[in-house]
């Protein structure tokens, strides 16, 4: 009964509300703030003791530390890698940890990996025999970690669970804040062929001499990051979202065949014993050679080595401090050269390791490009803190690790190479060496945000390439991303999207953020403000874990420029920029009151005899005789009288003589708010560049007008003449309008002739 009453009442209440609603007028609807200039309070996390509102690390900022001691054996005969590692993990967080997460990246290549299950497969138009056998008759590669044991420091087995590329180690006792825990893992895996596998690490096999060149990375179980932003960053490694790692110290002994040349992260403590006396002497020379590389292992020596296959071994003793990862390259095929670079008051070694197949290109360019990158990045960010940077040549590669990276760019077998192979190689070396800053030292979360290292690095790469060759065909210019930005919206993601789930990875996470920073520097902040802010971000977050908000906030904090509109448009939306000239109206000065003037005069009781009027030459109020007034200040008595009475002759001569009046209306078919950059060319050939900040759009997102006055007639107006705004449509950028035939039409004409 009670229920029924309630129901009846509810129905009544509903009816009453419905009736009331009907009576109300619909225009009573309000709205939330939808301005494109509103602050990013809803998008950015609330500042806290870990990360401040200024974008700097806060007083309670912490990060974990993971130190590794490893004994590694490279089995060149069977392409296997064996390792025993001791991990000492320091919990600097205020939290108690009951388990640890360890990354097993090699498991992406395990025969039971789920990565292929989220990829796709289809038939090819045809198969030659080799491809047929490889595609349909081969066994799946037996990759992935084989874990022999996980033990505590006393040798007692620890309980662990593997979920694809992540391993959870359950701790016997919870780990308290500020405590350390040591455990051991023994493992081995089959090394993959990175050329056929298209992988970031592995070996390349050289059929001609039967040797392998190994580029070894993600090769040991690595601690996952635990921090105030993600807790455990244990998102699986599917393949696109790269790595998120803690800083730590490394002691690594690597046993290789005795005829191998090896380089890797950190110091080689016994390098003198690893090289021949002659080579060691050449290395000492390189330490003092600031103008050109010294070849330490020569082509002759490498060619001799690649003819043999030593059954003896030697052990390289490596030590690295404060690095977030460890990688190495090893082969008997390697040549090795190095030169010294002055960074601040320190000497850093720029080095290269390459098989003879890379020459002459590699000997000529690699180490010099490394040196240029170290110098440019140090100037823009902070001095390179490590003692060396190595560029290793590996086919089709481009992958970065602390102090060492793999780079492609190979001449043809006869040693010749095209300009595009050379430029590709210079570009990739600059990019990968540049990664030493982003993310190796400014240690952002790659698994979550690809743009934070790739975007910022692609931008800085452009500065280094420009320094190396001022006409270098860099790719991150704003004009190069317009085709991407005005594409079908269903195939574009905002840059603030997870690494694994973006359409058009290269454009989304490399080119667009790089171009956006280029625009910020060239057009919005200018070099001084931008460079200081960018450097401040680098200084604040070196050897730490920044998040996107820390970057956005620092750029504003150090420049006194509210950029929330910029971050919102470029990073949180897929909007593009398209600003056009809608119309240009010419006005003449007249003493004949316009209709509007008469209306105002009547309403407020003004005497129009004391006024002059601007008349739109396109309006019906315009009469040809109005053109007779060529010099308004002389031809119109009320102006002439006023000037004569109030200014001396000399003063009058200094006044701006406005004779030509234009109202320019800009429209904005694009969703982004951006500054208006207009180049005005006058009839006498002189040029005036106008810059109206993005805020001009704050009250009207569709169109805005400006009155432009001058003593000269305007011949033409062109928007964004230097192509700095990524305007996707240039057809509406000119007044008077210009038409250009398409690339297709031009080519067709050429062919038909």
């Amino acid at each position: 009964m009670k229920k029924l009453t309630f129901l009846t009442m509810s129905v009544l209440l509903f009816l009453t509300t419905a009736l009331l609603a009907q009576e109300q007028k619909p225009e009573k609807k309000g709205h939330y703030n939808t301005s494109k200039f509103r602050q990013l309070y809803e998008e950015l996390p609330t500042p806290n003791m870990f990360r401040t509102a200024s974008g700097a690390p806060g007083p309670a900022y912490y990060q974990q530390q993971a130190d590794y001691k490893m004994d590694i054996v490279l089995d060149d005969k069977n392409q296997k890698l064996f390792g025993e590692e001791t991990v000492t993990y320091t919990n600097n967080s205020p939290d108690e940890l009951t388990y640890l997460w360890v990354q097993l990246d090699q498991n992406k290549r395990a025969s039971n990996s789920k990565t292929p299950d989220i990829e796709s497969g289809n038939t090819s138009f045809g198969y030659d025999a080799k491809k047929y056998v490889a595609n349909f008759m081969g066994k799946p590669f037996q990759g992935g970690f084989n874990i022999d044991y996980v033990k505590d420091s006393n040798g007692k087995d620890l309980k662990y669970t593997i979920n694809q590329t992540m391993m959870r180690i359950d701790l016997p006792l919870p780990m308290q804040a500020k405590s350390t825990y040591t455990f051991k893992i023994k493992w081995w895996y089959n090394i993959n062929n990175h050329v056929t596998d298209r992988a970031r690490s592995g070996y390349e096999h050289f059929d001609a001499d039967g040797n392998n060149a190994y580029i070894i990375a993600q090769f040991y179980p690595r601690m996952a990051v635990y921090n105030d932003v993600e807790g455990w960053q244990n998102m699986q490694f599917w393949g696109s979202g790269e790595f998120t790692l803690e800083f730590g110290n490394y002691e690594v002994n690597i046993t290789t065949p005795a005829d191998h040349i090896l380089e890797g992260t950190g110091f080689i403590l016994n390098q003198a014993d690893m090289l021949t006396n002659k080579q060691w002497k050449r290395y000492q020379e390189a330490l003092k050679s600031y103008d050109k590389p010294v070849v330490i292992v020569t082509q002759e020596e490498a060619e001799k080595a690649e003819k043999g296959f030593s059954n003896k071994t030697k052990t390289w003793k490596m030590k690295a401090e404060n690095v977030r990862d460890f990688a190495f390259a090893s082969s008997r095929k390697y040549l090795y050269d190095a030169m010294a670079v002055k960074i601040g008051n320190r000497t850093v070694m720029a080095e290269s390791l390459y098989p003879k197949e890379g020459n002459p290109l590699w000997g000529d360019y690699s180490t010099k490009v490394v040196a240029n990158t170290l110098e440019t990045y140090s100037a823009h960010l902070f001095d390179y803190p490590y003692h060396k940077a190595i560029s290793v040549h590996a086919l089709q590669q481009g992958m970065e690790y602390p102090m060492i990276c793999w780079n492609g760019g190979r001449p043809k077998p006869d040693g010749t190479y095209t300009e595009r192979v050379k430029n590709g190689m210079i570009g990739v070396i600059t990019h990968e060496v540049g990664h030493n800053w982003f993310p190796m030292i400014i240690n952002s979360d790659e698994r979550q945000w690809t743009w934070m290292d790739e975007g910022l690095n692609s931008f800085t790469e452009m500065l280094a390439e420009e320094r190396f060759d001022k006409d270098f065909p860099s790719r991150g210019f704003p004009k190069n991303i317009t085709a991407y930005m005005n594409g079908d919206q269903s195939k574009i993601s905002p840059t603030m999207s997870n690494s694994e789930n973006v359409f058009q990875f290269g454009n989304n996470a490399y080119a667009k953020p790089a171009a956006s920073l280029y625009i910020l520097r060239e057009l919005i902040l200018g070099h001084d403000l931008f460079d200081k802010a960018f450097k401040t971000y680098a200084e604040r977050w070196k050897f730490k874990h920044p998040s996107p908000a820390d970057f956005f906030r620092t750029m504003e904090d150090a420049s006194a420029t509210d950029l929330d509109w910029f971050w919102r448009g470029w990073y949180y939306t897929t909007d593009f920029n398209d600003i056009g000239i809608k119309s240009v109206s010419k006005y003449v000065v007249s003493t004949t009151p316009t209709k509007q003037a008469k209306m105002v005069a009547e309403r407020y009781g003004l005497d129009l005899a004391n006024y002059v009027f601007l008349v739109d030459t396109d309006s019906d109020e315009y009469k040809p005789e109005m053109d007779k007034i060529k010099e308004p200040t002389k031809d119109l008595k009320i102006l002439d009288d006023y000037l004569t009475q109030n200014f001396t002759k000399e003063e009058r001569a200094t006044l701006k003589n406005s004779k030509y009046f234009y109202k320019v209306t800009f429209n904005k078919p694009g969703g982004l708010v951006m500054p208006i950059v207009a180049r005005i060319t006058y009839e006498d050939g002189s040029v005036d560049d106008k810059y109206y900040p993005a805020l001009i759009w704050r009250f009207n997102d569709d169109e805005v007008s400006k009155l432009i006055t001058s003593d000269k007639a305007i011949k033409s107006i062109e928007l964004d003449p230097n192509l700095l705004t990524a305007d996707v449509n240039l057809e509406n950028n000119s007044w008077p309008m210009k038409k250009e035939e398409s690339k297709f039409d031009k080519f067709k004409k050429k062919v038909e002739n």
Partner: protein, 165 residues
Amino acid sequence: MTLLKKLLLLILIPLMAFGLHKYYISLTQIDYKAQEKSLQISMRLFTDDVEKTLTSNFKKDFKLDTPDELANTNKLLEFYINSHFKVHVNGKLLAIKFLGKEYDQDLVYFYIEIKDVASIKSIEIENTILMDEFEEQQNIIKLNIDKILKTMILVRDNDKDLLNF
């Protein structure tokens, strides 16, 4: 207006291969010119990728974009394009005409025309160019048909797409 010219040259540069991983991408712009009853197609690809694919298919050293480029490159290219790029309009497979190619830095542009297209009610594009060589190849198609802009992203597993108007 040289700026526009420049832009048209660069507008199709795909911004991939930025270090790290090389991105295997091509970009095809398809414009329908109703007055001329013509589908105008320009396809932008990396010269290196094209060279590698042609070499695998035809077992020849093409030496693209060099003075020694193989004499019948365009013929073989036409054969390759014909077997990897198919356009159906209103359900009918149309004959394509390969006009030629043009190099720009590390890129190559193919120009293709389809004539006598009176109207478009539906268009299906199949583009497997370079996919036989590169597993990760993505072929992006941008269509501009009667002022309607559409993008298709074609990959091995999904190498054709249909649009109805």
